[in-house]
Amino acid sequence: MLLIRCPYCEEERPELEFRNAGEAHIARSANMAGESDDDFEKFFFIRSNPKGIIYERWRHMHGCARFFNAVRDTVTDKFIMTYKAGEPKPSNLPKISNEVVAK
């Protein structure tokens, strides 16, 4: 079970309290009705599904109930950082500390 830091509660809590809510930073158009078919397709259907760093939304469902964003490595499952909804996509990611090589 993963530990996830809720940026609102400012606490690491067990995964059971959270629910994943799909990829982050996909903006809904202010002029939704006027979107082209192609743009709607990109908005609604196309997801990056990367091997590596993903920006995704989580909800602290059984806690403060807030949606927030997270950066996670899909290979190691490690959370690199979490941040509040509405904050810009971070450009400089912190290095994960415990990827150590023994001896």
Binding site: L2, M32, A33, F40, F67, T76, D77, N98, V101, A102
Partner: protein, 997 residues
């Protein structure tokens, strides 16, 4: 005397308490503190099971969790039968009953052993090859036969009467393994004051100190030191010591699963005791001290009972005081077996000979063995074992060929070396590295905050182990914030040390095709099978493993993986690291479902939700149905009524007089705030800004893709307050959907959302007499049609308690939904029921509710829609605000395929024969005479007998349905084709006059 092979004065068990036990109907005596294995060996019993595939007689290989052979059934009573228990792990208790497995009619005469003679048929990959054809025979013939013949124990067929418990644990330093290394690490961490958990799978701590007579620490014998250290740790407030506890899984972020066996070792476990306890521990640092597992020698017939690991024989002697034979042979490629020979010899057991595969080994143990007069042979191999139900001899030959010599023995102790237990490290996603010099895989790259110490890290010798472990314990404590370090490092006075050994098959293992030199005992995989897999084209070790099943049994190849890998590598002509190790997966040893499920079974498996009115319905004899987690009254049968009769009566009563229905499970959300109307505009297709307070509207919610997501009646209580209802099943996801948009897409809107499903009980009163029933109980609300028209809502009082009184209808009759605070739900229901009796009203359940709404063509989201239905498809275009600039789904709804002609549309269906009721889900075709597979143009979504219409009615999704009004279509069924006519969805009161009737 507790067995003829118990050596007086040897071992650590107190002779005081004897324990009687029973194996295959035969009574024996052991000592408390024995394992079942040591007690059997003390009685000279080596034959304990039959093997999986060849039904070969099998004995006891090990003295621990790695045991592949000695699997038995332990039986307490008819329901408490545990198959596949390792006799080497099961502690003896007075009255224990064990039975051998996988044999018929008896252990010594087993009919299935014919497989052994016919073994060429059962070579590697035989399941894949032999039973390929004909395909149909697989299910009917091959699989059941194979399952019956192979397989290990038999599962109990009664519910498990035991209970299990579950705990979360948190600590700074979790130490897994309680041998010398684990104890040293735990001491170092514990002395700093940080929170420590130390767990070991055995009943007693000490690990290999149980058999290493040459170990001395802090002036004591190694095992005595271990006991003293554990007592010290147990006395510390910051330490939890868990014995009989196996760490079976290492998960993300230092989350470790452990199972504590609480009462399996007790003769009469108290009812308050759980059988097992699951620990889910989150640790800041983990110290892995899981030790090493000895490997066997791979030679012909190396599975005969009496042939065992040298370290195991030492454990049986030095800990349990049991000699595993009277005339033992030793076969080794490594020093450690010498110590076993020396210990046994000193205890008075005859050691026939030591056969060492190495050419010129030197060292103190070899000298000591010689000094004791033990015959030592170098550069020789045991090429086969004699005997069947018990080993009777070993045949020795120079390893490069030459004259054979057969030596009579009643046991063979073997050691090919020790394999570091990297299972948990590997589960933590760490990567192992191959040490070419010592031929061992050891921890390489770490992926989590853990460290390996001692034998599991490839560290040899007690001194080096304790130094390394103590330092690691101190560092782990410091890393988690410990300030003071005491450094009371234990001092090692005497130590045993060995390493190396061999991997793969010894010279006696083949290449003769009939030789059975076992690599994996539990799955009956021989050296020949692995070679054959390579010859048949398997290149990856993962393929070799699956083809031969090497390492895939319940022991997960603890003794066999490295041998299998080495043989495959040799055959492939590649170095071992290039062939690679198979992945280790949880669980380390088998875990019961009971421990995982714990209390979450029966009524506690899933929460049950009951409405405030539930007790009344129960008292009335209602039959309930499950709707999600809710229990809903399905129908209220009177004496002698079946479901059909009850539902017909309920449906007729509602339209004739009135009916009362518990609608409390309906999802309810309050949308409040200055921007509440704006928010509603965005979340629902309908317009809301102009809806006057006091009025209601049927709302449709879409997903962004334009498909119907939910629906429900919404009442506007005030300009800034909406009372939204959702479907029963949809309440949580609608709330989530609303919160998602409010928090992330429309955060500028000043709105609060509150789930009020549980706060309000809802009593629907429907039918021509509904107002007459309610009115006498209501205060402060004008109930006239002018003041309270259809689709309106008022706040006031009923029976003296607050109510939100909706005038609305899901039946097509004049109707009301009385919302009252849930605590008053049953009282108000009873008051309304009493009034209802004056008007011949009936209580009706969900089945009648479904029929009544279908008679009116009202849809149920999730039944008549399936996530691919647009408002237009459902005939609900009228509920979509045409002038709105935006709402969720506005763009998706306009996608080309969603506005194309020929989409499936919701319509009514009338069977030509009114008595025939269609099956929900039945497919619809245009031409029933066409060839199969027919072109299906739709399906039935709802179908009922309607007593009010005097005929069957149905709703269906049909391609281009609204252009087919009056057309005849067909529903092909197994018993013939049913003719139907496409109709309006409204079957009753088409003008809607009864809403005010």
């Amino acid at each position: 005397m507790s067995g003829a092979f118990r050596i007086p004065g040897a071992g650590r068990l107190k002779q005081a308490k004897t324990a009687r036990f029973n194996f295959d109907g035969q009574a024996y005596t052991g000592i408390e503190g024995d394992t079942l294995a040591s007690a059997l060996l003390a009685n000279g019993v080596h034959l304990v099971g039959r093997s999986f595939k060849y039904h070969r007689p099998r004995g006891i290989l090990s003295a621990g969790a790695e045991e592949p052979n000695a699997l038995v059934e332990i039986k307490r009573d008819a329901a408490r039968k545990t198959p596949n228990v390792r006799a080497t792990v099961q502690e003896l208790y007075d009255g224990l009953e064990a039975q051998s497995q996988n044999r018929w009619p008896s252990l010594s005469f087993d009919v299935g052993a014919v497989n052994d003679i016919a073994s060429p048929l059962f070579s590697a990959g035989f399941y894949y090859k032999t039973f390929m054809w004909p395909k149909a025979a697989w299910k009917s013939l091959y699989e059941p036969k194979i399952r019956a013949a192979a397989g290990l124990g038999v599962s109990p067929d009664q519910p498990d009467p035991d209970h299990y418990s579950s705990r979360y644990g948190h600590c700074d330093v979790l130490v897994l393994g309680g041998g010398a290394a684990g104890i040293a690490a735990a001491l170092a961490a514990a002395e700093t004051g940080v929170r420590v958990i130390l767990a070991d799978e055995q009943a007693e701590f000490g690990g290999s100190l149980r058999f290493e007579t040459g170990a001395g620490i802090d002036g004591q014998d190694g095992f005595a030191w271990a006991q003293a250290a554990i007592a010290e740790l147990q006395g510390m407030d910051n330490v939890r010591v868990l014995s009989r506890t196996t760490a079976f899984g290492y998960y993300a972020q230092n989350f470790v699963g452990l199972v504590e066996r609480v009462s399996d070792h007790l003769s009469t476990p108290g009812h308050d005791l759980p059988r097992e306890r699951l620990w889910q521990v989150r640790a800041k640092r983990v110290v892995l001290a899981s030790g090493a597992i000895e490997r066997h020698m791979v030679f012909a017939d190396n599975d005969r009972p009496g042939i065992m690991l040298a370290g195991a024989a030492r454990t049986y002697l030095n800990h349990y005081g049991v000699a595993v034979g009277r005339q033992v042979g030793v076969y080794t490629a490594n020093d450690s077996a010498y110590a076993a020979a020396i210990d046994l010899k000193k205890a008075g057991v005859q050691v026939a000979a030591i056969v060492d595969l190495r050419d010129h080994p030197t060292g103190p143990v070899i000298d000591e063995a010689r000094a004791l007069g033990i015959e030592v042979n170098f550069g020789r191999a045991v090429i086969r074992a004699g005997g069947k139900l018990r080993v009777s001899s070993m045949t020795v030959q120079p390893k490069n060929g030459g004259g054979e010599r057969t030596i009579p023995v009643d046991a063979i102790l073997m050691s090919a070396g020790w394999t570091p237990s990297v299972h948990l490290f590997s589960q933590s996603r760490g990567k192992v590295a191959f040490n070419d010099e010592t031929k061992r895989f050891v921890p390489g790259t770490y992926a989590q905050d853990c460290v390996s110490v001692g034998a599991c890290n490839g560290t040899d010798g007690l001194s080096a182990t304790i130094d390394e472990a103590y330092a690691a314990g101190e560092k782990a404590a410091k890393d988690t914030g410990a300030k003071t370090v005491k450094s009371n490092r234990p001092k090692v006075d005497a130590s045993e040390s060995w390493s190396r050994g061999m991997l793969g098959a010894a010279p006696g293992a083949g290449p003769d095709t009939t030789v059975k030199a076992f690599v994996d005992f539990q799955n009956d995989v021989t050296a020949k099978d692995i070679r054959q897999a390579v010859h048949e084209g398997m290149r990856s070790i993962e393929h070799v493993k699956r083809f031969t099943t090497n390492g895939m049994a319940t022991d997960q190849g603890k003794t066999s993986n490295m041998h299998g890998l080495a043989i495959a590598a040799e055959e492939l002509g590649k170095p071992i690291p290039e062939v690679g190790l198979t992945t280790f997966r949880a669980p380390y040893t088998p875990v019961t479902f009971g421990a995982i499920v714990s209390h979450a079974r029966g009524p506690l498996f899933d929460p049950t939700r009951k409405t405030a009115i539930h007790p009344w319905a129960e008292a009335q004899g209602a039959v309930f149905e499950d709707v999600g987690q809710w229990k809903r009254a399905w129908y209220f049968p009177k004496a002698g009524e079946d479901m059909h009769a009850a539902v017909d009566r309920e449906c007729v009563a509602v339209r004739k007089t009135a009916g009362l229905f518990d609608a409390s499970t309906l999802g309810k959300i309050e949308v409040v705030g200055p921007d509440a109307a704006k928010f509603m505009e965005l979340l629902y297709t309908n317009p809301w800004e102009k809806l006057e307070p006091g009025r209601c509207r049927y709302g449709i919610m879409l997903r962004e893709d334009g498909f119907i997501y939910d629906d429900g009646v919404v009442g506007r209580l005030a300009p800034d307050r909406f009372h939204v209802t959702t479907t029963t099943g949809g309440a949580p996801r609608v709330m989530n959907h609303m919160e998602d948009y409010l928090q992330t897409e429309f955060p500028h809107l000043n709105v609060w959302l509150t789930s009020i499903t549980e706060q309000w009980a809802v009593i629907a009163v429907q039918g021509p007499k509904s107002r007459d029933i309610i009115a006498p109980l209501v205060e402060g609300i004008d109930m006239s049609d002018e003041a309270l028209p259809h689709m309106s809502v008022r706040e006031g009082k009923i029976c003296g308690v607050p109510t939100r009184l909706f005038r609305m209808s899901f039946t097509g009759e004049r109707g009301f939904e009385v919302n009252v605070p849930a605590d008053y739900g049953q009282a108000v229901w009873e008051a309304l029921w009493a009034e209802g009796q004056k008007h011949d009203a009936a209580a009706y359940g969900t089945e009648a509710m479904h029929v009544l709404r279908a008679e009116k063509g009202y849809i149920i989201v999730g039944q008549d829609t399936d996530g691919t239905v647009t408002p237009n498809d459902a005939g609900l275009d009228w509920a979509v605000g045409k002038k709105k600039a935006d709402f969720v789904g506005i763009r998706g709804m306009a996608r080309p395929d969603l506005v194309a002609k020929g989409r499936k549309q919701l319509v009514g269906l009338k069977t030509k024969d009114p008595k025939v009721v269609l099956e929900e889900g039945a497919q619809i075709v245009e031409d029933p005479k066409q060839a199969i597979p027919m072109k299906m143009i739709g399906h039935v979504t709802s179908s009922y007998w309607s007593e009010n219409c005097g005929r069957s009615i149905a709703l269906a999704l049909v391609a281009g349905g609204r252009d087919r009004m009056g057309d005849t279509l067909y529903v092909p069924m197994p018993n013939g084709v049913i003719e139907v006519e496409v109709s309006s969805m409204v079957f009753f009161d088409e003008t809607g006059g009864r809403l005010n009737g």
